[in-house]
């Protein structure tokens, strides 16, 4: 078999059950939530049936049947989902016809995520997701109970994550009670309204705006509405046609920027309002959210490092985000969704302070890095500029022999200069170092990342050398790990330096394989 199989992590199917407490149900209040959510989810289909059958017929009956079916489904789901927490395992039983039991050993629990949507909050409920070593992989929903009462969920979290840690000397929160049942500990970072200024530069509003605009245009054309009959649109259209081309383009761009900026800021406000990062009792805990609240607890022993990431736009205003490199959290869909975020877009100095505090080494974020040398620098330029030149050349050939318009290849010339700037920045950002027992890697221009990975977390090496790298004795060294993005690569590092780095990071592993 080729599938990655994790022994004794998650098994589906009934196993030998140790003496355990009785099976418990989800909160009965979910009987209110599930049908409503399922109804909302099924609403487009139901409305569609209703719309198609507006001239009478059996359609209305069918939509009623659908409605009842959806509600019954919600009730059945509540009735058939039970869980229990034993001394060894957490088990979740699901399904009416095909019953399944998901068992997770308790020592596999890495993170606990409490998420409450608006309806949950109204009813005092929260959804609990338990992250195990494997849940960062695709197609694995992990262990999720939707939903328990806040008190019950909090109790469960304490039970799961504080099992072996002796209580630390009391470092109780000084500045008021933390929101949404945060674990006790010292506050590392707390939301400041000034951070909202970084909202527009997070560009998180870009995608929603595109989706909304696309959907609206689709709707307008499907419904055969005529927006040009509205006075506002006519006036705008007239103004744009009368203005010179440059001005019109600038106007449209400015409006787009303002809309995206506003949407991004709103998104920032909704997601990160009340953001609090605390630490203590062997866990790192973050809570945030305006309408939907999330509280994520990461077991500190499993925290393999921290990454400071600066997207280009954010870098322009000296902003940065801070992300945990840890097992048991989904990483594929962006750090915010995955919950491994340690700090939303905020001033870079703040991100550096948080990274230093979490790693117990404030100097690591400023530690000097080793440059990769002139060949690595040249490779940054060739890899950025050659594709741009090829594009321009190709467009010129198309212009010459296939009578493409002049402007196509002329417009592509600035790309070459952009590529030059990008290459320069990429090399300036490239670097690595060993700081204490951590491997520090920095790379990237569009998104610059400084990954600070604990060497305990490195579970293998991959040394890759392309045909072109071989001529210059460079390699790409990748440290593989079970945490975060699973692989952290040092690009275009000298071969001997790579070996030396491997040896310093994981002593003795390499020694038997070195040539005399």
């Amino acid at each position: 078999m080729t599938a990655v199989e994790m022994p004794a992590s998650t098994q589906t199917g009934p196993g030998p059950l140790p003496a355990a407490p009785e099976w418990r149900r989800l909160s009965p209040r979910m009987l209110l939530v599930h049908p409503v959510i399922e109804l909302l989810r099924a609403a487009p289909a139901l409305l569609g049936i209703l719309y198609l059958s507006r001239n009478g017929g059996a359609g209305q009956i069918w939509s009623l049947v659908g409605l009842v079916g959806v509600v019954v489904y919600g009730v059945v789901r509540w009735l058939t989902t039970t869980y229990r927490v034993g001394p060894e395992q957490i088990q979740v039983r699901r399904g009416l016809v095909r019953r399944s039991v998901l068992s997770v050993p308790r020592d596999r629990v890495r993170t606990v995520d409490l998420t409450s949507h608006a309806m949950h909050r109204l009813l005092g409920l929260t959804r609990i997701s338990i992250g195990t070593g494997t849940s960062d992989r695709k197609g694995d929903n992990g262990l999720r109970l939707d939903a328990l009462t806040v008190a019950e969920a909090t109790r469960l979290r304490e039970e799961l994550l504080h099992r072996s840690t002796a209580p630390l000397p009391s470092t109780a929160t000084a500045t008021g009670a933390p929101p949404v049942a945060a674990a006790a500990g010292t506050v590392v970072a707390r939301f400041r309204p000034a951070w909202l200024g970084y909202g527009p530069f997070s560009l998180s509003g870009l995608l929603p705006v595109v989706v909304v605009v696309g959907a609206t245009m689709q709707f307008v054309s499907e419904a055969k509405l005529a927006p040009e009959r509205l006075g506002v649109f006519t006036a705008v259209g007239d103004q744009l046609t009368r203005a010179p081309l440059g001005v019109a383009v600038a106007e449209v761009l400015a409006v787009c920027l303002v809309i995206v900026g506003l949407a991004s800021t709103l998104g920032y406000l909704f997601r990160f309002w009340n953001f609090t990062l605390t630490r203590g009792n062997g866990v790192v805990h973050q809570s945030r959210g305006l309408v939907t609240t999330r509280a994520i607890t990461i077991e500190e022993r499993r925290l393999r490092g921290v990454e400071i990431s600066e997207a280009l736009v954010l870098r322009l205003v000296s902003g940065a985000r801070c992300v945990a490199i840890t097992t048991g959290l989904r990483v594929g869909h962006g750090a915010e969704r995955g919950g491994s975020l340690l700090l939303p877009p905020a001033p870079r100095s703040e991100a550096e302070r948080v990274a230093g505090a979490i790693l117990d080494d404030p100097s690591i974020v400023h530690a000097p890095l080793v440059e990769h040398g002139p060949v690595a620098q040249r490779r940054r330029y060739t890899r950025a500029v050659v594709p741009a030149l090829l594009l321009t050349g190709g467009l010129w050939l198309l212009h010459r022999y296939a009578s493409w318009p002049d402007w196509s290849w002329q417009l592509s010339i600035p790309l070459v200069f952009l590529a030059l700037i990008l290459a320069k920045d990429r090399y300036r950002n490239l670097g690595h170092a060993m700081v204490g027992a951590r491997l520090v890697i920095r790379r990237g221009a569009l998104v610059r990342r400084r990954s600070m990975l604990s060497c305990d977390g490195i579970i293998g090496w991959s040394v890759y050398q392309s045909f072109f790298q071989r001529a210059n004795n460079l390699v790409t060294l990748t440290a593989t790990t079970a945490a975060g993005k699973q692989r952290y690569a040092v690009q275009d590092i000298g071969y001997h330096e790579a070996l030396s780095l491997m040896d310093r990071a994981v002593p003795d592993l390499l020694t038997p394989f070195l040539a005399d």
Partner: protein, 171 residues
């Protein structure tokens, strides 16, 4: 940003892993590559036959494909055979693979989670097996291709025994 000068490094290099793969891997790689090219050539020939005019462009693409195929099938297996090597000690698994581009992989035995073997149809024809070693990282398993069945089974037994002797997987 401040940058430190490159650290002093003694000139060390990796030695190649101890064992070559089976000699039968050579025809296996050649057959597998040839099969891929044949599919591509088949599509092009059908395309040529279906068109009424004998387009010079189509013929030259076909000729180019044949040339590339012959070059690939004749060069790649030998090159690969010279590169692909593996070694397993009680402490670590070490492999070298690739041909045009190369990859060296090292994983400590203490971090191994599963060891398994897979035999595809072509591998069965040539009596070969590969051994896949996974760790807790999703960054990709270490795969040793082109072992003969006996060696593969021995390696699996050895790795399984060694893995059980060392606890922990660093997740």
């Amino acid at each position: 940003m401040q940058m430190a000068p490159a650290t002093e490094t003694s000139v060390v290099s990796l030695r190649p892993p101890a064992h070559r793969v089976s000699g039968r891997a050579f025809p296996y790689w050649a057959t597998r590559a040839a099969a891929g090219w044949l599919v591509l050539l088949g599509i092009q020939i059908v395309w040529l036959l279906l068109s009424h005019d004998t387009g010079a462009l189509r013929v030259s693409i076909l000729v180019g494909t044949v040339a590339l195929a012959v070059l690939h099938v004749s060069v790649m297996p030998l090159w690969r055979y010279r590169v692909h090597r593996w070694e397993a000690t009680p402490e670590a698994v070490y492999t070298q693979s690739g041909w045009f581009n190369r990859t060296w992989r090292i994983a400590p035995v203490s971090r191994i989670q599963t060891v398994d073997s897979h035999r595809g149809p072509w591998e069965q024809v040539f009596g070969l097996a590969n051994v896949t070693v996974t760790t807790a990282s999703a960054a990709g398993p270490i795969k040793i291709e082109g072992l003969d069945n006996h060696t593969a089974q021995q390696l699996i037994d050895e790795l399984t025994a060694n893995t059980q002797a060392t606890p922990g997987d660093a997740t």
